[in-house]
Chain length 346, copies 2
DNA sequence: CTGAAAGCGCTAACAA
DNA sequence: TTGTTAGCGCTTTCAG
């Protein structure tokens, strides 16, 4: 391994001079600079960042904690985070927790031992014990949270207005004339579920429609759960004419159930998803869904970390992004809904 | 920040004793061990792994270089790698290169400066310049490559038998009675494309069917390219009755084209994909596809790295995994193909 | 069994 | 403008 010492010898200067030209700090004559660079080139020297980190207290590494990279939502988010971090010369260490608090705690411990410059959490469930511990135990460690609100503490938050998303989705259905709308959500213990449900209910109320509690289901944000619950809902004598799925995966499950039951989308059933993930364009008919600006959110989360690192002070900001609806072909005016089905659904 | 020094003071021992109990190296009396551990607990001490790495020359971090985590194939692979690495107490730094050699080179540089314990490459294209540079410049750095063969050098390789996959896929179609089979592949410069094509052609030859060069297309491994090329193929006067898509994304594009043209799958057109990705179960009808054991491959790649780290010698092994076909509903016997279409396709 | 001391590769005063 | 020196937090001989 080539060290700064070897370079110094080769260039006939002291190691501090080498350090200076490497870091462009302090004064160095153009001539020695050149000599050093030549030596660096010749020996193919690479600075040992670990040694530097020991002094700088900066590893140019951040940790990203998510449930599962296989979930496309997190894949998109991860890409956004990694791209942005990379632009700032920062690497990201990936941590898949499966929403397991113990696993999460272990990752956090490891990251801290490694001296990461910050941690980004995007953990959907309302289990913020670890985050709170980190904040209280390492108050100077830059942290930002994507997608969840942490109660009781000040922290960098990057959020999408889930209430608004739920409202917009439901309003779209309402405007198409639907009144019999179901909401299939993910885990109850998540801000996304809670807020989207509030948006759903508020829209219904604004249209003077009573919320049918049988039509509000919390389960998991997965295809199979969407399928299971849609099966349940769509085989009721008084089945909904529209379903608002709390994410696109659930919507995919709804599609599957509808297909098995011979219910056509959108003729017999309108479906709205959430996330505007890759799924939305793959399914048929293309899914109308709520778009969350994932890239922007991931980017902002990194920027907040970078800001904290640079300003060496704990900024605590909350950024709320607004969702938009992407209208595709999974929703239709109620009048167009097949009369037979309408009849049956009364 | 709490250091080993603080712990030593608290426990009334020297720092070397603390180091010893922390690493369970050398002798320590049970009593002092306890005292030290209590101090560790009390002060909530976390070892600074960077400092340790400076001496051990081990960072317990590996780099994973892929084109794009948003591509579900790589998301699955990444999860496999991360899970396995984590089991060995190793973190993974994610690097998305977009198949850009410059970007890749920068990542490699950064990883080496950080002193990663190894690098795993899963870069589909036949652009192995950087890998070769790494191997020659850092012969002791553990490296493994997933999915590609690097010519001219010895290196750890974890491969799937793409030829076999191509053969099996085509044989399945052949056995269903298809003779007019097209192959839509990804980029020509990838081992996957090349080998799968060979398998395709060999199967055809084994059935005494001449390869129609117009029916062999290389483009990109993406939905839109599958769509574009399927459009082209399916609007020919003599259109294929079956398409073997070199990955599931391309197959999704084929579905889209078929739908627009009113061609039913599998009645009018059989489709086989490759990868058995999430897409395969989301589309309708569920896609028959070739399964590559991604998890096993990712796992093996990490194990090879770990082996190299432990044995401190450069093992160079090639592991070939075998693909299997997952039969779902996108393929059908030619006799069942609608006569009208069959007529037209003559 | 324990402590003193050297040093990993680098940075940053401080002198010169 | 450059070199000397003292560490960063830890591990590891080597004495004791």
């Amino acid at each position: 391994m080539v060290t700064i010492k070897d370079v110094a010898k080769e260039a006939n200067v002291s190691i501090s001079t080498v350090s200076r030209v490497l870091n462009q700090s302090g004064y160095t004559s153009e001539e020695t600079r050149k000599r050093v660079m030549e030596a660096v080139e010749k020996l193919n020297f690479r600075k040992n960042l670990m040694a530097a980190a020991l002094i700088n207290k900066q590893t140019s590494t951040i940790g990203l904690i998510i449930p599962d990279i296989k979930n496309i939502f997190y894949a998109d988010l991860t890409r956004a985070v990694e791209d942005t971090a990379n632009a700032y010369g920062i690497n990201v260490v990936l941590c898949n927790t499966d929403n397991n608090l113990n696993k999460e705690a272990k990752y956090i411990d490891f990251l801290i031992q490694k001296g990461v410059d910050g941690i980004i959490f995007s953990t959907p469930e309302v289990k913020d014990k670890n985050i709170k511990t980190v904040i209280s135990q390492y108050p100077d460690l830059p942290v930002s949270v994507i997608g969840s609100k942490i109660r009781g503490i000040q922290i960098n938050e990057v959020l999408v207005d889930n209430f608004e998303g739920g409202y917009i989705a439901t309003r779209h259905l309402l405007e198409l004339g639907h009144t019999n709308i179901a909401f299939i959500s993910g885990i109850l213990n998540s801000f996304a579920s809670i807020e989207r449900k509030k948006g759903f209910e508020t829209a219904l109320k604004d249209w003077d429609i009573e919320v049918n509690e049988d039509f509000v289901i919390f389960d998991q944000f997965k295809i199979e759960n969407g399928y299971k619950n849609a099966m349940h809902l769509l085989t009721k004598p008084n089945r909904p004419t529209a379903i608002f799925a709390a994410n696109d995966a659930i919507a995919v499950g709804v599609y599957k159930a509808a297909r098995e039951l011979g219910i056509r989308i959108p003729e017999d059933l309108s479906v709205v998803g959430f996330d505007n993930s890759q799924y939305a364009e793959i399914v048929y008919p293309p899914l109308t869904t709520i778009q969350t600006p994932i890239f922007e959110m991931g980017k902002r989360a990194v920027e907040l970390i970078v800001k904290m690192i640079k300003e060496k002070q704990t900024v605590k900001e909350t950024h709320v992004f607004h969702p938009t609806i992407i209208k595709r072909e999974s929703t239709a005016i109620l009048e167009h809904t097949s009369p037979l089905r309408r009849e049956r659904s009364k």
